[in-house]
């Protein structure tokens, strides 16, 4: 059965077929794509889903002013007080020409080579593309078979400051048509510097985030050019990064709404995946125990300064069972803290998977990965205890980097005292030596979270 590419609302069950791209169009092998995509254990499709319109993404809503004046002004009218921040991201800049993204976004678009110099062996091309991406600086690379649920309804996504300006503005195909046209998605991530990401809620954390984003835009631009050079089409701004990354086995979806990878934890930056008609071999979703860990850990939920991360179990949203964050609550914070920092990153930093690359980190993840599912709770409890003991419930590390100083007295541990106990005893607190810019300024930890929940429940009970 050939796929009906005009199909607008796919059925929740069953499979359909679509032709794979071939060199000359004479032979068209047919593969069966499940209508229910496999995102792994952390996000399961359990019902009817709809492709999300690109216009409903946070930045797009904000550009229309639907999130209020403070956020609108934050997006369009901000100039960072920090010189390095002004070159890190176009929206924070005084002059966008001082940002790398500005130049990458305006690079001319190369043409598709009419020849296919490297042939069309899917396995060899997949290996090659992954190596090329890693050579260009990608931290994690994955290939997924495109499913309409991964694509934006409306089929395109333009966000200022991304590598999308002036590219691929055409396209009115439905997600099903696009999925048939470009059967594979290549997703890459760049990695935030571990030490700098420890300085969450500080300009240093912003730099780790934004410069990796700039690097990623360059890698994607190079990769798109190279794929076209190999004689295949490559387009961006049509697919959502999260589902593609999950399907491509780059990681699992955590409670904090981030893709958690095996090597780097949550400190990765996903960009707009490349859709291509290059014949490739898709990767499979992985299981590194994120679902089991997140069920117990809840560190991100307990420390989120805006209560955007739920402590409850997974919910079904748009037909997908997953941990759902309150993105709007998270997003709204930005307008009120931009004088001090731009990107929170606390949920990334506290995540036990986010650790430097070391043998003990690999050992811990591999242990969890290889533990039978019904016994994982024991491994999780052990690893959680280790994490709390050695790293503290909230990482608080003084970071000095290129003239910046996060300005916190490091946790002073007494002999035999755990980091968590030291924090509880107040050693982790420090006055902000620089006045305005300092660690955790101006927010405090969300230590009253459970009390607030309890109070709410009591109020609700009283009102009944």
């Amino acid at each position: 059965m050939a796929v009906n590419v005009e199909e607008k609302s796919p059925a929740p069950q069953g499979d359909h077929e679509r032709p794979l791209d071939s060199d000359n169009g004479t032979s068209r092998p047919v593969t069966v794509i499940p209508l229910t995509p496999d995102f792994g254990r952390s996000a399961r499709v359990v019902g009817q889903w709809d492709s999300v319109p690109a216009s409903e993404s946070p930045h797009e809503k904000n550009k229309r002013g639907e999130l209020g004046k403070p956020l609108f002004n934050w997006y369009f009218n901000r100039t960072s007080v920090d010189a390095l921040s002004r070159i890190a991201f176009p929206q924070s800049s005084a002059d966008q020409r001082n940002t790398l993204q500005h130049h990458v976004a305006r690079a001319p678009r190369s043409k598709v080579n009419p020849l296919k110099p490297l042939g069309s062996d899917p396995a060899a091309l997949s290996r090659h593309i992954k190596r090329v991406a890693e050579f260009l600086g990608a931290g994690v690379v994955g290939i997924a078979e495109v499913h309409p649920s991964m694509l934006y309804a409306g089929n395109q996504f333009f966000d200022d400051g991304s590598a999308s300006i002036g590219r691929d503005k055409g396209g009115k195909d439905s997600p099903a048509v696009t999925a048939a046209k470009y059967p594979y998605a290549i997703c890459i991530s760049t990695v935030w510097d571990y030490e700098m990401a420890q300085a969450h809620r500080h300009h240093l954390g912003d730099h780790a985030y934004h410069f990796s984003q700039a690097q990623m835009s360059l890698i994607y631009a190079n990769l798109v050019s190279y794929i076209r050079e190999l004689g295949y089409e490559a387009v961006q701004n049509k697919a959502q990064p999260m589902p593609v990354a999950l399907a491509a086995g780059m990681g699992e979806l955590g409670r904090n709404g981030m893709v958690i990878t095996e090597k780097y934890g949550a400190r990765v930056h996903l960009g707009d995946p490349i859709l291509t008609n290059m014949p490739l071999v898709a990767d499979k979703p992985i299981d590194i125990g994120v679902s089991d860990f997140c069920k117990v850990c809840k560190k991100c939920a307990n420390t989120c300064p805006t209560n955007s991360i739920s402590v409850e179990d997974k919910v079904v949203h748009n037909g997908v069972e997953k941990y759902k964050i309150n993105w709007e609550q998270c997003y709204r914070l930005r307008a009120h803290v931009m004088e001090f920092w731009e990107i929170c990153l606390t949920c990334v930093t506290v995540c036990p998977y986010t650790k430097p690359r070391a043998w003990w980190h690999t050992l811990a993840v591999q242990t969890l990965k290889r533990t039978p599912k019904n016994l994982r709770i024991l491994t999780v409890l052990g690893l959680k205890w280790l994490d709390d003991t050695f790293w503290g419930t909230v990482p608080r590390k003084r970071i000095k980097w290129a003239g910046y100083d996060t300005g916190i007295v490091p946790v002073k541990k007494k002999k035999g005292e755990s980091a968590a106990a030291a924090e509880a005893n107040g050693h982790g607190e420090a006055a902000d030596p620089n006045g305005k810019i300092g660690y955790y300024y101006p927010l405090k930890e969300n230590t009253r979270r459970f009390e607030i929940l309890k109070e709410r429940q009591e109020r609700a009970a009283r009102s009944k």
């Binding site: 010189a83 020409r97 690079a107 190369s110 090659h128 410069f211 190279y226 076209r228």
Partner: protein, 219 residues
């Protein structure tokens, strides 16, 4: 690290990536990076930084952005370098002689050159493919970031338009060999061969900096 693995053997397509020049010149992003023009100088100068500290910070940033070696030397006379005001926003106390001296005489004391060198597995003069040319792109990114950062601190900066290799030697980054390439002797080895350092570009600036000792090693 990448050199430890012989990609050529395990990936028969690797040679194409490294050596085959792209059919479409638009695939080369280096040209695009230089085409967009420089941004304006930020109208408010940062607090006058200590030159030594600022030099350390600049080197730190350059290495973080991808440079392997960074050195700072005064801009010697005779270098035909023009640093344009780059836009309409001038620093309030910009010197009237904002253009570096391009004539003969003593080195221009208040202009400096930040020279960045990047190590490459492949010689971009020989390897014309996307991979072979990638080091040039990395260099362009470092210089773009450095120049932009200096401009955002309120000082002038522009990509050097002259060959910075002799200055790299002056900054102690290595020795220029007979082929005119900079080599950091005895340190980098890839695939059993002596690696080389490819000097990409440099930034000329009037930001007060501490120069490197020409006899000593660069950073």
């Amino acid at each position: 690290m990448a050199g430890l693995f012989n990609r050529k053997k395990s990936d028969p397509m690797w040679d194409h990536f490294i050596n085959r020049p792209p059919a479409d010149p638009d695939s080369d992003l280096v040209a695009a990076l230089g085409r967009g023009g420089e941004g304006r100088v930020f109208p408010v100068k940062s607090n006058e930084p200590d030159p030594v500290v600022m030099s350390q910070n600049l080197k730190h940033l350059a290495r973080w952005w991808g440079a392997d070696l960074v050195g700072i030397v005064p801009l010697p006379p005779g270098h035909d370098q023009v640093v344009t005001p780059s836009g309409d926003a001038e620093p309030e106390d910009a010197p009237s002689d904002a253009q570096p001296d391009s004539g003969a005489g003593a080195p221009t004391s208040n202009w400096f050159v930040v020279v960045c060198a990047l190590f490459s597995e492949y010689d971009p003069e020989v390897a014309k493919g996307t991979g072979g040319q990638f080091v040039r792109q990395r260099g362009a990114v470092v210089v773009q970031h450095l120049g932009a950062f200096i401009r955002e601190t309120g000082f002038r900066a522009a990509k050097a338009t002259f060959d910075p290799i002799p200055l790299a030697e002056s900054a102690g980054l290595g020795k220029v060999d007979r082929q005119g390439k900079l080599k950091e002797e005895g340190k980098l080895k890839v695939d059993g061969k002596r690696g080389y350092v490819h000097v990409t570009q440099a930034v000329v600036t009037n930001l007060p900096l501490a120069v490197d000792n020409p006899a000593g090693p660069g950073q």
